[in-house]
């Protein structure tokens, strides 16, 4: 991802940081939990923080800022929101 696109993506992160939600569905894939989360105003699809052992439908979570994974060689180190069990 080139820098300007990353800049736009990160500006969106600030708006949702700190919100709480509930897990609608989740799956463990490529060493990460991935969760579809219901917030007050919308749903979001996010990874869980790295050391999450187990996630289940109905778990309460909050959105926190974390370091992202590189998804392709050309992506820079990036930050994204992840879900953390409350």
């Amino acid at each position: 991802m080139k820098a300007p696109k990353w800049q736009r993506y990160r500006n969106n992160l600030k708006q949702d940081a700190g919100k709480n939600g509930q897990v609608l569905a989740c799956t463990f894939v490529n060493d990460n939990w991935l969760a579809l989360v219901k917030l007050n105003d919308k749903n979001v699809l996010l990874q869980a923080v790295k050391e999450t052992a187990v996630l289940a439908i109905g778990d309460c979570v909050k959105l926190v800022l974390r370091k992202g994974e590189k998804v392709a060689p050309e992506n820079p180190l990036q930050y994204r929101l992840k879900v953390e069990k409350i």
């Binding site: 923080v49 790295k50 800022l65 974390r66 930050y79």
Partner: protein, 277 residues
């Protein structure tokens, strides 16, 4: 006497050790997120030995994340474990001179040690954030002084992933010489008497150094208790001494006097006289 003071503070220590997706930036955000009503910050100085980028300011990222810019000063600092307190010294000057009304200083680090090194047993991670200003001060930053030499007790070259250290050499010529040196300079500058001070906060790179330097300085060991953090968090480098200060501020009553002396390898120590309001 400096007119700047601490107006708010917060710390973040990862509960079960650092998660693989945390770094010094995300930990500072986590610390500051605990506070309500953030002041209008005009300068951010970020002290760390583990900035996410070699070139790209972590301080600027923090300022941007909390929407304090674009009219904001920002810079990253490094001086081993004392980079956070050095940031504090600089901010004292900025605020005292009215160059800025409110500033943020941060000491934050993720653990770094060579695999298999003895150091790996003592390292931890954490972040401490202090807001500095002249209004609504909870503790006055009365005075500060440093003691600094070129001493190779702990270093990491640009191209290396993990730091090296000089074993026992980090003791006498490193930690003790500089901590005691800064303590004595502060005493000369401000005239404080050891018995008048209620709390002493020393850097804690391991379980014993803080106690040993207190003993050498003739300090009542009960007065370093409140600042004891090593057992809880290990040595989180730039965060350690500031987390210890936060812990003391949590319990100190109005009028309490605190002397804090940080230590950074390479080497230097920053000493502060702080009075709680």
């Amino acid at each position: 006497m400096c007119m700047a003071g601490i107006t708010a503070y917060s710390v973040y220590i990862p509960v079960n050790g650092r998660s693989a997706d945390e770094d010094s930036f995300t930990m500072v955000v986590a610390a500051i997120d605990k506070l309500n009503d953030l002041p209008d910050v005009e300068a951010v100085y970020f002290g760390s030995e583990s900035h996410p980028y070699k070139i790209k300011s972590t301080a600027a990222m923090v300022a941007d994340w909390f929407n304090w810019g674009p009219k904001v000063m920002a810079a990253d600092l490094e001086f081993a474990c004392k980079s956070g307190t050095t940031a504090l010294q600089m901010m004292m000057g900025m605020v005292d001179s009215d160059m800025v009304a409110n500033g943020l200083i941060v000491g934050a680090d993720v653990a770094q040690a060579r695999a298999g090194d003895a150091l790996a047993k003592t390292v931890g991670s954490g972040a401490a954030a202090f807001f500095i200003g002249k209004e609504n001060v909870i503790a006055d930053l009365v005075a500060t002084v440093s003691f600094c030499t070129d001493t190779a007790d702990f270093w990491r070259h640009q191209d290396e992933e993990a730091p090296r250290h000089a074993g026992r050499f980090t003791g006498e010529p490193g930690y003790f010489r500089h901590t005691i040196g800064a303590f004595e300079e502060l005493q000369k500058k401000t005239g404080f008497k050891t018995e008048e001070i209620d709390y002493f906060v020393f850097h804690q790179p391991n379980a014993t150094f803080s106690g040993r330097v207190a003993h050498k300085l003739g300090i009542d060991l009960a007065k370093i208790e409140a600042a004891s953090v090593f057992d809880k968090m290990g040595n989180a480098y730039s965060a350690t001494v500031l987390v210890a200060l936060a812990q003391v501020l949590d319990v100190a009553q109005a009028g309490a006097k605190i002397v804090m002396v940080s230590y950074g390898s390479g080497a230097g120590a920053d000493a502060f006289l702080i009075e709680c309001k």
